[in-house]
Amino acid sequence: MPAEPMLRVSHVVKRFGGLTVADDVSFDVPRGAKMALIGPNGAGKTTMFNLISGVYPIDGGEISLDGQVIDALPARKRIGVGLSRSFQNIRLMPHLTVIENVMLGQHVQATSLASLLAPVGWQRGGRWRRMAEERLRQAGIDVDPDSAVSGLPYGVRKKIEVVRALMSGPRLLMLDEPAAGLNPRETAELSAFLKGIAEDGLTLLVVEHDMSFVHDLCEQTVVLNFGRLIYDGPTKGVQDDEAVREAYLGTRRVATAEGAGRAA
């Protein structure tokens, strides 16, 4: 019997009114894989993340994490079974400091009443805070942990969100455009950092537009277009795939024609 994949999305359907945003989508993310989820704008990538993380209920199909069916679990319980995510637009808590945002990521691990009622905000050298600071350091975030997040540069906030998502000790980490808005140096650092944590056994599912980042990080890729899965295979083969070329090139051809028209 083959090993269960870390994430199995099986015949998932989602409709908003008359619009089908996920149309019988099935794919597996194998244990320990680094997989990319790509597609043109409006393909339903973020929607797929929202379905997996429970923001919206699915209308059909099944989602399972490591063999456990999770699509009936409420959103807040999915992080507890090992599923953690970041957001396309940074969703850090604006009035929490850097360390507080990161420590919020530990929330599911504080299961006992004692750990919920321990004054973590006062324990400078406490276990929780040390863990959070350690992760910040590993990710190469060199800012005052007690500073406000709202004043920090975009790239730093983006990385803090990844660190926050990591704090729950997930088995599957889903990142929604982690490299967007980062400069090339930051992108390379992020890629190295993610490779490092993947070596510890973490499974990664990444929505990303930056194809060089995808090629660098992810060995496997699934492609969505208009809510349908059009490709599922190695990242190397994605650019040679007929359906993918059509989905992307269709728009590119229009862009080229426009460019030519303007030039003429």
Partner: protein, 290 residues
């Protein structure tokens, strides 16, 4: 302490406890414009237990708190179904129903009010206010406090982070009920008299203003807000209606200049001596590294 000072300190203590009641829900993102309703229930429960049931203070006050906590717990379920403007209106309506009931009820003296036999002095009020302040400071330093602030900032993301948003909100409403009940019971026992007219819409408005002007991000907010509102008019020594005009102007200016309240999380971080030292180090470190 002069009688005048004692009077100010007494009302400051009661207002502070009341403000913390409203703060705990506001810190978790829920605006309660019906504070007077909870306080009235606490005051009348204590008054009834004291004057009719002849119970001593150490029973009347905890009993009042238990009743208002239960009311807060029960009312949280319908109220938490509402959002935004609706929640403000629902809590406001709740307070009006309570005031209307108390005004009509012959059991609770109707418009005449009730005399409360046992007196509680200023030292007890101060002790309670200090206790509640420390309790809320402690709460805000815990993971529950962190979760409350997270819910205030972004409810959907808090859910994704595994926070049981509903449980936290119900808990804050229950705690708010208990604290408002305590402030009401202390009011009844200190002033030895309760009347429904005191617990009016304006009181609910004032206490919410204490909290929002003080700031909802840290436990310092209600403390600063209550002090500001209780002491500024005394210090300015303006009489009668001018006092309220000054109030109003202060509120409007405050919202224009410091819309997040007087005390923000950032301000606390900046003023903390320990953080100030570490920040110096970090800045220096960065400069050397750069």
């Amino acid at each position: 302490m002069s009688g005048y000072m004692a009077g100010i300190v007494a009302i400051l203590c009661i207002n502070l406890i009341f403000a913390y009641a409203i703060f705990v829900t506001a810190a978790a993102g829920q605006l309660n414009l019906g504070g007077a309703g909870f306080q009235a229930i606490g005051a009348y429960a204590a008054a009834y237990a004291s004057s009719v049931l002849m119970q001593p203070v150490w029973i009347t006050i905890p009993a009042a708190m238990a009743i208002t906590a239960l009311v807060g717990f029960l009312i949280s379920f319908p109220v938490l179904r509402t959002r935004g403007v609706y929640m403000v209106l629902a809590t406001f309506a709740f307070a009006e129903v309570v005031a209307g009931f108390l005004l009509r009820s012959t059991t609770f003296g109707g418009a005449i009010g009730m005399v409360v036999p046992d007196h509680v002095g200023v030292p007890v009020l101060i002790a309670c206010a200090v206790g509640v302040t420390l309790l809320v400071f402690y709460l805000m330093a815990t993971r529950v406090g962190l979760a409350m602030r997270a819910i205030h900032d972004d409810e959907p993301v808090s859910t994704i982070m595994g926070v049981n948003v509903r449980a936290v909100q119900v808990a804050t409403f229950t705690l708010a009920g208990a604290l408002a009940g305590l402030s009401g019971a202390l009011y009844a026992h200190h002033f030895s008299f309760v009347e429904a007219q005191y617990f009016n819409a304006l009181l609910s408005i004032y206490v919410l203003l204490f909290v929002l002007i003080g700031g909802t991000q840290t436990a310092w907010g209600p403390l600063v807000g209550s002090l500001f509102f209780t002491l500024i008019p005394e210090l300015l020594r303006v009489g009668g209606s001018w006092r309220y005009v000054v109030f109003g102007v202060a509120i409007v200016l405050m919202m224009a200049i410091r819309p997040e309240g007087i005390v923000t999380r950032q301000l606390v971080a900046r003023l903390s001596p320990r953080n100030w030292l570490t920040r110096r180090k970090t800045v220096l470190g960065e400069r050397h590294a750069g």
